[in-house]
């Protein structure tokens, strides 16, 4: 090893030439002057923190971890990772009760699903919102995602699981918390589409929340425990059962592929290439000619596609866009790629509400200008944000595919 090789730091920190391009594309900087910006919070501040940890600035919590700084950086510096790692290493602030509630999507989700009608009604009540706002600091303007009475997993076990072994090919499905507790229909759509393409869908042996909300709320040890459970199950699926893993959420996928090794030190080298978004999986099948899709006859429809931040970071917007364009009679308008402002649990916090809506304002304006029949996107929290802030409904590309696919015709085509 040469001297230079010993000097290479983590996250390409030493590649930063202070060009400020990251700050230009940071969605938080223009709306929240208390945030020092990605250059200062990231590589600039890191120089000081490496000397003395007390230079850590608690204002780094305003980073919503969108990673758009990394996408913009001409020098491949992992600015977002530097910021998140600094928070993990140096932050002295303890997560509040509210942060724990928002971050523990699994526990809160399973409790809420059990009592869904009560929970859904209660959290929508004005007095309850006011109490949550003042006591928990969860902003009163937020509409809470509704909880489903029956989780995706219990539906799947009852209605779908038994048939899955009949298929020739197989995948495992990382459904994530949103599909399981809030929106099982998307999971059902996934099973419908994959089955039509000749793939049996299976649950992982164990699945925990991917942990993205735990990471952003500083609950790192718990995030690591859950990541280990997930990677062990994924490894079993990929190496023993020979089933690649697909997911619907761009953020879960990004977290498992990149945040696990970068932020949580959980190695996934051996399985990383086998975890991907379903839209990319299906695109590959279509491109290689392994499957064909037959669509139902349908009236022309105008759809606007919004690229979620972690989708932008993955660089995989292409696959969802191409799949949607593959559907006859779809006019697809790709919106300017920009943050919608929600940042997962970030926008639910009272102190971030104004920032959150300020960031999204120009996106909401653009959607209204395009005036589509509905918006398509691959991220559940972008969906909440856009549905709350505009009059438009938001659908996942897989749900759109499920709507337009001719199941019988597709099965016959692939015989």
């Amino acid at each position: 090893m040469t001297m230079q090789q010993y000097n290479i730091s983590e996250n390409n920190f030493e590649q930063c030439i202070k060009c400020t391009v990251c700050t230009v594309y940071c969605p938080v900087v223009p709306v929240n002057p208390n945030y020092p910006g990605p250059k200062q919070a990231g590589p600039d501040g890191e120089r000081l923190r490496l000397k003395r940890g007390e230079f850590f600035d608690e204002a780094l919590k305003y980073c919503l971890n969108c990673k758009r700084c990394e996408v913009a950086c001409p020098s491949n510096v992992r600015i977002g990772d530097i910021i998140q790692l600094a928070r993990i290493k140096y932050s002295k602030s303890k997560p509040s009760l509210r942060d724990m509630i928002l971050a523990n999507t699994d526990i809160v989700g399973s409790l809420s699903s059990t009592f869904a009608p009560i929970v859904n009604t209660t959290v929508a009540l004005k007095p309850v919102k006011a109490v949550m706002d003042s006591v928990l600091k969860i902003d009163r303007h937020r509409t809470f995602p509704r909880y489903a009475g029956q989780t995706f997993v219990s539906w799947f076990k009852k209605e779908a699981q038994a048939k899955q072994d009949l298929y020739l090919n197989h995948v495992s499905f990382f459904h994530g918390c949103y599909i399981n507790y809030n929106y099982p229909q998307l999971g059902k759509d996934m099973v419908k589409v994959m089955n039509a393409l000749g793939y049996g869908v299976h649950l992982l042996e164990k699945e925990k929340c991917c942990g993205v909300a735990l990471i952003s709320n500083g609950l790192i040890n718990q995030a690591k425990k859950q990541a280990k459970v997930n990677i062990d199950s994924i490894r079993k699926s990929v190496t023993e059962e020979k089933r690649p893993v697909i997911a619907a959420s761009s953020t879960c996928t990004f977290t498992i592929r990149d945040e696990y090794p970068h932020l949580l030190n959980i190695e996934n080298d051996d399985v990383r290439n086998s975890i991907e978004l379903a839209t990319r999986f299906i695109y590959r099948l279509l491109e290689s000619g392994k499957v064909k899709i037959k669509y139902r006859d349908a009236a022309p429809v105008k759809i606007a596609y919004h690229t979620p931040c972690h989708m932008e970071k993955l660089g995989w917007g292409f696959y969802s866009i191409e799949l949607l364009r593959h559907i006859p009679n779809v006019e697809l308008v790709v919106l300017d790629s920009q943050c919608c402002g929600i940042g997962g649990t970030y926008g639910f916090k009272k102190e971030n509400y104004g920032t959150s809506q300020g960031i999204g304002a120009s996106l909401f304006r653009q959607i209204e200008e395009v005036d589509p029949q509905f918006v398509a996107t691959d991220c559940e929290t972008c969906k909440w944000q856009i549905e709350m802030s505009t009059p438009y409904k938001v659908k996942h590309p897989i749900s759109i595919l499920a709507e337009y696919i001719d199941v019988e015709g597709t099965i016959n085509l692939n015989k």
Binding site: T23, V24, N34, P36, Q40, P74, W316, F318
Partner: protein, 413 residues
């Protein structure tokens, strides 16, 4: 994935090439590892300011005839004037308003207030006919209080050196005070965002009008219009005194707007722009390239009939220098460089530097070579090319634009 053309690099050269090809009906993808050098743009595009021997150039169209045959302009040859005009037209058609003439260099004002020769200048800025011209006799030189990337004292010294009288003022508005809470964020792009608000623009205009009584021109930093030229037009309408915009230190607001505009035009024409991704390897054989792989797309390769390398020079990793050589990382293309490392540098930093002339070797049609073998369907354009020193000759933007369009016209579907 299958495209007609895959372009590696999404800066000025890659975008110009992509727009021209999309307009000709090609299906293109641009792979861009982060944002481009347009973010550091002066606001002007140079064509040719100096010959390699240091002779100043007044008329680039005439001067190119004396360039060495290895110079990219020499390969464009007789079509130089045509492509210079086409490049200007492409910018205009894309909504990037520029002024300038390839037969006669004009002068632009630098962030230091001095003047430099140039070809095209964004409509935001003032073009001067001669190096010692001034924008006015009595200049009100205005800065936003706390903005450190605009040095009014240097600029006033330069203007006064050419016979103007300057009065320096700094303006503070409550909206800017919020930004100043974090001094590192008092940067041109953030100020420009605040100045997109009509009320703030109006407040700024009234402040300037109060101070403008005894001056014949108001000079302001280039902090107007990240996404459109509208804020500057609005401001100018509200100020009776002529307003002149002076570039700031980077990031460059007009440069960012140009990048956004060109990208949008490329996308609206149907092109796919993949930001934050890097080309890693190429699948080659029989003097052809079949596909490239990227970090983000992994096992799904980008296949195309043609590939265009517009990956830039050392700064953007288009070229890699090590102790024993210079190489091109994606295709392993042949690179023109001096094997004797002692000749790479001149100890005097302001002198021309040999390393800046290093770049990818190409045939007369800008096709790259691998181990001496010309690759039939791979072209190089812009600053990754060898044979010129963009800094000394003042020809970086011109080489990018002209080679981009020249190569785009070579490709057949």
């Amino acid at each position: 994935m299958k495209f007609d053309t895959v372009i590696i690099g999404g800066g000025l050269a890659g975008l110009a090439c992509g727009i021209r090809l999309q307009n000709r009906g090609f299906k293109c993808a641009i792979v861009s590892a982060g944002q481009s050098a347009l973010h550091f743009s002066s606001g002007s595009f140079d064509l040719l300011n100096e010959l390699p021997d240091g002779t100043a150039v007044a008329n680039p169209e005439e001067a190119v005839r004396s360039l060495d045959p290895k110079h990219p302009y020499a390969k464009i040859g007789d079509q130089f004037a045509f492509y210079a005009q086409e490049a200007k037209q492409l910018l205009l058609d894309s909504g990037v308003e520029v002024q300038g003439d390839s037969k006669q260099n004009s002068y632009r004002i630098t962030p230091m207030g001095t003047t430099m020769p140039t070809w095209l200048t964004l409509a935001d800025f003032t073009c001067l006919k001669n190096a010692t011209d001034v924008i006015g006799k009595k200049i009100l030189l205005v800065n936003i209080a706390g903005f450190l990337d605009f040095n009014t004292k240097f600029i006033a010294d330069a203007f006064e050196g050419n016979g103007a009288a300057c009065k320096i003022v700094s303006v503070s508005l409550p909206e800017f005070e919020k930004l100043r809470q974090s001094p590192t964020e008092m940067r041109s792009a953030n100020i420009a965002r605040i100045l997109e608000n009509e009320n703030t623009l109006h407040a700024l205009a009234s402040r300037l009008n109060e101070q403008a009584s005894s001056c014949d021109v108001i000079a302001l930093p280039a902090v107007f219009g990240l996404s459109s030229p509208a804020p500057l037009q609005t401001l100018k309408r509200q100020i009776p005194t002529p307003v002149c915009i002076v570039p700031t230190m980077p990031p460059s607001v007009p440069g960012i707007r140009t990048q956004k505009r060109l990208r949008r035009v490329f996308e609206l024409a149907g092109g796919f722009y993949m930001l934050g991704d890097s080309a890693t390897t190429a699948e080659t054989g029989d003097g052809k390239v079949y596909a490239i792989s990227t970090v983000n797309h992994g096992d799904i390769a980008l296949r195309a009939n043609h590939f265009v390398l517009a990956s830039g020079s050392f700064f953007s990793n288009g070229l890699w220098a090590s102790m024993d050589g210079v190489r091109e990382p994606v295709f392993g293309a042949d690179v023109d460089f001096d094997p004797n490392r002692n000749n790479w540098y001149n100890a005097s930093v302001f002198e021309p530097q040999r390393y800046r002339t290093f770049g990818v070797a190409t045939d007369e049609r800008f096709r790259i070579k691998i181990n001496g073998k010309v690759q039939d369907n791979v072209y190089a354009i812009g600053s990754v090319l060898s044979g010129f020193d963009a800094l000394q000759e003042g020809c970086g933007a011109g080489v990018s634009l002209l080679t981009a369009l020249y190569v785009a016209d070579q490709l057949k579907k």
